[in-house]
Assembly symmetry: C2
Homo-oligomer: 199 residues x 2
DNA sequence: TAATAAGCTGTCATAATTGACAATTAAATA
DNA sequence: TATTTAATTGTCAATTATGACAGCTTATTA
């Protein structure tokens, strides 16, 4: 008996709000009051459901990394079917669309990740997590491209992976300047030029 | 008569300290106390010499943008002499060395600029400045490359400029992860692959 | 050495941020 | 309806960050 718990729902709402705040104000700039307002709750409720600030940050990190993994795995899962066509071009279009189309773009996500990487500077535990996150990202991409462009050297594959990821990150990390529309095309074209060097 | 002023010297010291703090803790995370400690001064002296927080931020922005311009102009000034050799390869090496050599790398600078861009989100005046800063950067680079690779389309030039700048930014913005040594070579190689597409 | 201009120190008030918890209200079931 | 469980509200104390300024010290020069 007793009243039903809203813990899951509220926790979702709060972490969502925190996520949006971090994208706008950064990790340090996101006060509990802001987060609570963004979630439409009282600050005391935030504390009630997710604990103190450190706990809140920990949970946000877990959430972001989990979501990131899920998205990335969804991306990877599609690769084999794209490759059935045995067409390098189809693969290239698939990557470019996933990383640079306006449709799939998610500036908030990049800004949050960027904030976490920045904070990794004085948070060793977080640093380790973000290191692994980044390495998996680049390694996977290099590995996939190694299968599509099998005659290429490790060096070229690593370079192109890193280059594409850099362009991808950079485009959205510039979004606070509100010039994204100016740079999306060049970004995508640059990524294409880069990956085409593997053909 | 009267005691000689240390305003210039102290202002330098304070802004230098602020700069280092921003690279480590971000703009929001850099409290006046931190800055004062970093400069080896009392907080009240910081206030005495550079005024309140807003004034401090304004002066940092001016300082960063001025220094950035000077460095960039120094870079540009060398270009004609490099181009006297009428060698595209010499130009390519010049760019790669300037942007990706360990020697010239300056992670602090990139982290500060990144912080300013992030803060541009809720500071219209700063946004305008950073927009201009970025646009000049990309435009100049595109223009130079247009002279070196004169047969190329505007589209390609813009793309390669943006791509190289992205890789340059991204490399150092990852520096809080302490994996810079792993990614410098791929970054430089990617930039080379990209710019080689113009040949 | 006296006057002056500036450096420097310390302290106080205020606001913002966070942590903690008591008290109340609401929804479920026996 | 009484009980139980949890949501929700409100408030207070502690800490931190900032702004403001009075007062003392030091260096320079007339």
């Amino acid at each position: 008996m007793g009243r039903p718990s809203k813990k899951e729902q509220r926790t979702e709402e709060i972490l969502d709000a925190f996520y949006r705040c971090v994208a706008r104000y950064g990790l340090e700039g996101s006060t509990l009051e802001f987060i609570a307002n963004e979630a439409g709750l009282k600050r005391s409720l935030v504390r009630h459901y997710v604990g103190n600030r450190d706990s809140l940050v920990d949970q946000l990190v877990e959430r972001v990394l989990t979501h990131s993994s899920l998205h990335w795995e969804a991306f990877l899962a599609e690769v084999p079917s794209v490759m059935e066509q045995h067409s390098q071009d189809a693969f290239i279009e698939y990557i470019l669309e996933a990383l640079f189309s306006e449709q799939h773009s998610d500036a908030e996500y990049i800004l949050v990740v960027e904030s976490l990487i920045f904070s990794a500077n004085h948070n060793p535990a977080l640093r380790k997590k973000m290191q692994q996150w980044l390495q998996r990202f680049t390694d996977d991409l290099g590995h996939i491209m190694g299968e599509v462009f099998s005659d290429k050297t490790e060096q070229d594959l690593k370079a192109v992976s890193f280059g594409i990821i850099s362009i991808y990150f950079n485009l959205d990390s510039l979004s606070p300047l509100g010039m994204n529309h100016l740079y999306r095309k060049p970004a995508r074209h640059a990524a294409r030029l880069l990956i085409d060097t593997l053909k």
